[in-house]
Amino acid sequence: MSAKAASVRDVVLESGIVVKPVYGPADVADIDYARDIGEPGQFPFTRGIHPLMYRARPWTMRQYAGFGTPRETNERFKFLIANGQNALNVAFDLPTQMGLDSDDPRAEGEVGRVGMAVDTLADMEEAFEGIPLDRISTSLTINAVAAPIMAMYFVVAEKQGVPLSDVRGTAQNDILKEYIGRGAWIFPVEPAIRLIGDTVEFCARHVPKYYPISVCGYHIRESGATPVQEIAYAFAIACAYIDHVVARGVSADDFVPRLSFNFDIHGNLFEQVAKFRAARRLWARLIRDRYGATDPDAMKMKMLAGGGGGGLTVEEPENNIVRGAYYALISALSGTQTMALCCYDEAYTIPSEKASLISLRTMQILAEEMGLCDTVDPLAGSYYVERLTTDMEKLIVAEMARVEEWGGIVRAVSEGLIQRIVAQQAYAYEKALQRGEIVKVGVNKYRATPPSPTTSEEGGRRGEGREVQLHEYRPDQAEAQMRRTAQIRAQRDGEAVSRALEALKRAAQGRENLMPYFLNAVRAYATLGEMTAVLKAVFGEFKEPVGL
């Protein structure tokens, strides 16, 4: 062995896989094409869920947007649609995510800050004014109060004259991951899962084109999970929802085809691609073998992948444009259905229109200039990628088995076990980063001297051209939102609201599906805060296990 070959450094992926310098036919000898890989669009869907993938239709481009008032959000939506975006992704402000009205004292300073404020149906009507809900597919990034917000969306469709059977879209509606990362939970775990079950059951019967849950590995990974844990915990969570709905007597074939996933991309390119190919294969086998599903559509893992916020840096923010382009490349090489990228300025602020457009253009350039749509799963057959795919699948299966040993994902989350694991890993990662063991260009290696200025004001002071423009919070818009909601409360039929809320309360105390009760309350212009208060009185609130 030459001195040079002997001195190559060890490479270990985040998932613990040791990477060899060279892969060859011997590394894939145990992998059978028909059994483990298969044709695109056929079981086990390793190569993709459609026979022609992007050759037939490129991925959906769905940037996350929404801020201030519903009127402003509506304007940004129309801007994105005019620039070629073909689906929407709504950001809600924190009071909305937490089921508080804009004039609630706990909402002070937060109204319209990180997303759109929604108090009543009137806000959703305004946000989607001129946007046909049967043609533009909208994703609602809402979890704890997904059921009442979905009810508002469905009533908007009703008012647009769109039958429920034609309504398209997705709700995030994944509460279990909120307890692990992101933190927008309200109710205890069991009633929170019941609410999800209500939406899934309702959609299976009445809104068949709607995707009622997008299970998020994304936030779990962003909280400190490895790529293997990201998939393993997301699948365990998806299975918890499926078990719950199957126990209601709905067959897996009737709703599993409408479950989708939201995954993260940052880190090693090949590890991510292998992660997604492994996940598709494993999901197909899991749904067929564990739930006895027979509809191939139920076995197809549909995903949104992009983001990668955790991989972006505060330092030299323009580098994030480059990182975003690579994440988009990974996403396309992984056979995603929908792509959404984090904007380069997200570490500072609500993305500017310019930053949002750059993300959209990144995806369009990839699709239309770089040949990513020409042929399906172009990395298939690579000795390295196929080996990694198979190894990742084994690791995910092992991690899912660990979750079972802990008593299942619901228990592991309720008791804070997963939260502790990811927090400890996040700390270990941060230490490695600060010691320079993990390289971040422009952060702990090749640092600019002097460090680049970071915001427009600072840059302005130094007389340099700056790229990050800070989003201005508008207290006047928050005031306007509060006035509007007060006006709606004054104008609506108060008795109808009380009756609808009382009916919701009685139904919540029993076991009925709550969706029809939310729809009635929404039609009467009950506020989100009022509906949430009813549920809190019946369900109580989650007690966070805060041990570190």
Binding site: G109, E110, G183, A347, E430, T455, E458, L548
Partner: protein, 133 residues
């Protein structure tokens, strides 16, 4: 100069639920020998003040990612003063634009450690103000 272990409350005021940073810094401070109490999510400023009082802490560390750091910090600082805890230093971390650093210091924060701050700097600052007392 004080020689007892530093007690610090790491708090998440407001509605934001992103706690990776808070938990990471809490672990770093604990490893540096401090006694760390973590409040958990969704605390009102009043609840943070109450916890500081109950836990008898020397320092309160606020982690805020939503952009609402100015009103939330003001309410915690004023609440501590009203509770007779004006000697409890408030340190702010999270997504804090450079232009707001001065404003937070004017509101009464002792220091600001935005995303990307090094553990050694945070630890050194907290040990520094503690030993001055």
């Amino acid at each position: 100069m004080s020689t007892k272990r530093i007690r610090i409350l790491i708090a998440k005021p407001g509605l934001d639920g992103h706690d990776r940073g808070a938990k990471v810094v809490a672990q770093a401070l604990r490893e540096a020998g401090m006694e760390v109490i973590y409040t958990g999510l969704h605390q009102t400023p009043e609840q943070v003040v109450e916890a500081a009082l109950q836990e008898d802490v020397d320092i309160v560390g606020l982690s805020i990612m939503s952009g609402a750091h100015l009103p939330l910090t003001a309410r915690v600082v004023n609440g501590l003063r009203q509770a007779g805890l004006s000697d409890v230093a408030v340190v702010v971390g999270g997504v804090i634009p450079e232009r707001d650093r001065e404003k937070l210091l004017e509101l009464g924060a002792a220091a600001v450690f935005p995303t990307g701050s090094r553990f050694e700097d945070i630890v050194a600052f907290i040990e520094g103000i503690h030993h001055e007392r």
